[in-house]
């Protein structure tokens, strides 16, 4: 085993990113329908539970993403957890293909949730939320979402994770 120490302090952005590649992140697709009706979605790994009383989650979104401008306190959004067979959807919404904008919703089956945000069919789970608070920090915004509706799908297909710059099916 070879250890590569990073002597630089503080570490560079690139060094930080390459270290974070070692962390296994669960894949989620965050979606929103803006007040003017426009749909938007992005793939995110920076998603986790915050509290179960009341059910609350957080997701971190780059402020340059169009979706970040569409997220507003008091407005709905959804977090969908694709199953292992939905890797193509994660790639499309992660900007890893040439498909741009709302055309991304052509990939996968999307239905309107109770709050209006797009819900992915056959996802392992979908959390419909109201954004209760947005905290801007450096390049990103932390979105705190109060869960209003919960949909749990079949688990037969396994989960989808991302590590070492690759998708990973977790049975």
């Amino acid at each position: 085993m070879i250890e590569i120490p990073d002597s630089q302090s503080p570490p560079s952005s690139a060094a930080f990113r390459s270290a974070m590649r070692l962390h296994i992140g669960g894949i989620s697709v965050v979606t929103v329908t803006a007040t003017d009706g426009e749909c938007c979605g992005i793939t995110a790994t920076a998603f986790c539970s915050l509290s179960d009383a009341p059910p609350t989650l957080i997701v971190c979104v780059n402020r340059n993403a169009r979706l970040a401008n569409m997220l507003q306190a008091g407005k709905p959004f959804a977090v969908n957890l694709p199953n292992a067979n939905q890797q193509e959807i994660a790639r499309v919404f992660g900007g890893m293909t040439s498909i741009r904008g709302r055309a991304r919703f052509g990939c996968g089956s999307w239905h309107r949730g109770d709050n209006g945000a797009p819900i992915l069919r056959h996802a392992r789970a979908s959390f419909e939320c109201i954004a209760s608070e947005l905290v801007t920090h450096t390049t990103h915004v932390i979105v705190i979402g109060t869960v209003t509706h919960l949909r749990v799908g079949a688990r037969a297909n396994g989960a989808l994770a991302y590590v070492d710059g690759r998708f990973l099916a977790v049975a």
Binding site: T33, T35, A103, H111
Partner: protein, 367 residues
């Protein structure tokens, strides 16, 4: 309880039935068993296709017929109401509605389409026709305007915004000027039900590349088909989109090749409705861009047989091979027409579908 739209589903090669809402189906023939398109005919054929695992039904929008002896298509069901009826009587199959953009207001269409999307639990689809036959439009007092596709793009944008907007909005465009727009229920599918159009010309293809999920295109032969697929894909990719490419075929499937060819000649040559064929070919050639010149010049039988679409004539094995070739050219699926859907679909389903499964073009349906 929402359902999957089958066109977003796992079948490697999608199958649909085409034009069963109109008399004659796609054929122009006087044979007595020709398609009458009664409601019970529509219902029976749709239920056979649904149970056999077909992915979609695509109706045509017709307001008058093609004349001739049998006046084919003069009798046709309006497609929103027709699809609503089928939505309540089928389980899984996708249901398109075909709308002439110049004749239907986008907010009327948005509500009707959403209604069918709810009745079918998410199986609705929209087939956009930007403009076609001046004779037919004259019946409405509408003349074929310029900028048909620009108008269609605005029309579709209004439908999408009406579904997604959280409150009333105003819309100011080149063709529409709308105030306080609201439309509920919104569609179940997001951002809207699946949308297709059929186009042969460059402008129509660009419209599909920019706005549609699926494009239906006819071809004269396989090489021709490959060229179409490459062209359409390139147009979509240039816009950062993906468009599924489908075609349309008419089918005579029989136990032997001779039987199939004999019946094809019988209904599409000997008993063709020649008056209707002449009318249809002249209209299509002048006013539509949905067929190429070669198709017009060489395929009169194809017009009588299936309105200029590609013929699948032969044994189950031969037809399965032809479909495999079409799939290999890059088509994601095809809509099919028969002289009589209810009589002929059972044999097709029993004999061709298993061969398509063996060839890997179809998979067993999982629930």
């Amino acid at each position: 309880m929402t359902k999957d739209h089958p066109l977003k589903g796992p079948q490697p090669f999608k199958l649909g039935i085409f034009s069963s809402n109109a008399s004659g189906g796609l054929a122009l023939t006087t044979v007595p068993e020709r398609w009458r398109a009664s409601w019970d005919d529509c219902l029976t054929s749709a239920q056979i296709a649904d149970r056999a695992g077909f992915d979609f039904i695509l109706p045509i929008a017709r307001w008058r017929g093609f004349g001739g002896e049998t006046r084919p298509r003069e009798w046709s069901f309006e497609t929103f109401t027709w699809a609503a009826g089928l939505a309540a009587a089928t389980e899984r199959i996708g249901l398109f509605m075909t709308v002439h953009i110049p004749l239907v207001h986008p907010l009327y269409a948005a509500k009707a389409l959403a209604s069918v999307d709810h009745i079918s639990h998410g199986r609705a689809g929209l087939n956009i026709v930007c403009g076609w036959n001046p004779d037919e439009f004259a019946m409405f007092g509408v003349s074929l305007a310029e900028d048909l596709y620009a108008r269609a793009a605005e029309w579709l944008e209004i439908v999408e915004r009406a579904y997604g907007a959280t409150g009333p909005f105003d819309y100011t465009g080149q063709f529409f000027n709308l105030h306080g727009v609201v439309s509920r229920p919104a569609s179940i599918q997001v951002p809207r039900p699946v949308v297709m159009n059929a186009a042969f010309g460059a402008t129509g293809r660009d419209f599909a590349a920019r706005n549609c999920d699926f494009l239906f295109s006819t071809f004269a032969d396989m090489v021709d088909g490959r060229r179409h697929v490459a062209d359409i894909r390139a147009r979509a990719e240039a816009l950062g989109r993906r468009v599924g490419i489908y075609t349309v075929c008419h089918v005579v499937c029989r136990e032997t090749q001779a039987e199939a060819e004999e019946y094809y000649r019988h209904y599409a040559v000997d008993f063709a409705d020649h008056g209707a064929v002449d009318y249809h070919m002249s209209r299509k050639k002048e006013f539509a861009h949905s067929h190429d010149e070669r198709t017009f010049a060489e395929y009169r039988q194809r017009f009588a047989g299936g309105a200029g679409t590609y013929p699948l004539i032969g044994t189950p094995e031969r037809i399965a091979e032809d479909l495999a070739k079409i799939s290999a050219e890059g088509y994601e699926g095809t809509a099919l027409s028969f002289v009589n859907y209810s009589y002929e679909l059972p044999f097709f389903c029993d004999r061709v579908l298993p061969l398509l499964r063996q060839a890997g073009l179809r998979v067993e349906r999982t629930l």
